[in-house]
Amino acid sequence: MRTLNLRIVRGGPGRPATYQTYQVSVDEHLNILDAVQKVWATQDPTLLFRHACHHASCGLCGVRVNGRERLMCLTPIAEFPEGATVTLEPLRNFPWVGDLVVDVKPLMDRMAAIQAPYVRKDELTAGSEEGTRFEDCIECGLCMSACPVVGSDSAYLGPSPLAMIKRLLEEPRGRDIQSLCALAGDAHGAWRCHSVMECVEVCPSNVDPSQAIGWLRRYLILRGRRQLAGAERR
């Protein structure tokens, strides 16, 4: 067992943010999410946090652990020494709902504009209305939180939506390439990235949004050159 002091942001819109510290003992082979769940179950049922799968598939438990964007389910207790204070805060750049919960609507709106989810129709079973995404991106929003451009430009598409556009352009399957290129080539698209590179560092799923944005830039340059040469219809 390991005892940690979880210093968690409490509050919400209209309520000032305060830090509340909970002492909790959990098995050192577990993760921070388990510790937060134990706090909720044994000490404070009013604590707000999101979680579902516990294995980095749902992307719901993204918070800032000691300032850094991480999934709580991927943050081992063993990383912290006995008696350590671990500060948990909600993600940046999203509307704050309360405690550790943010509203991820801005990310979902962007994915909808790109026409994600990406569905393999041949994988749909009879009667199912939705397919599964086969992207690495779990849409946890960590990259959107870590990117300072997202926090300063309200229309910037952001790292994960741009990575999604790259993936769709790689394998369009009937998608409207023109509109995808218009989104990526917009003043608030791939060209708005300032290469701060925090998205690459915080991504828990090896998406590498920065590499995708660079790929989009090369794609747009080559496409523009082909258009100028008249080889492709505008």
């Binding site: 962007r110 504009a113 300072p148 300063s152 229309a155 660079g214 090369r218």
Partner: protein, 141 residues
């Protein structure tokens, strides 16, 4: 010309935020690592170099005030404090140039997973070359 698509999703809470709150997103160093440090150093050295450009033109204008004024400046330029300013200037130029190469590569999607190594490479090389340059300045007396 505003090339923004009318259909582009907008983060309402960011759009409603005051300019200083949006600007604060750039200097929020909480939990940041090499990428952000490289970004901030790039801006600081860039602003510093623009400031130096005007300072340089002002210093050159002393030539128009005659030989005495210029000689007085040269005497000042040989002081240890001025050499320290030179070192800061040289580091700024080197870092801005070397990190500029890093940003060109990263901006085109090359080496993103090595971005921290590239940053430290540019940073250490800038320090080493600055030390060499300062030594040469001191040797020239």
């Amino acid at each position: 010309m505003d090339r923004t698509l009318s259909s582009l999703p907008v983060s309402e809470h960011v759009a409603r935020a005051s300019w200083w709150r949006r600007a604060a997103a750039w200097v929020d160093l909480h939990g940041r690592r090499e990428g952000w440090l490289a970004f901030i150093l790039m801006r600081v050295t860039g602003i510093g170099l623009v400031f130096y450009l005007f300072l340089h033109l002002t210093v050159l204008s002393t030539l128009a005030r005659g030989r005495q004024a210029w000689d007085a400046f040269i005497a000042l330029a040989r002081s240890p404090l001025f050499v320290a300013f030179d070192a800061v200037l040289i580091f700024g130029m080197l870092y801005h140039g070397l990190n500029g190469l890093r940003v060109i590569l990263l901006g085109l999607g090359v080496g993103s997973r090595r971005q921290a190594v590239l940053f430290w490479g540019a940073f250490v090389l800038s320090i080493v070359l600055t030390a060499v340059a300062v030594r040469m300045i001191l040797m020239m007396g």
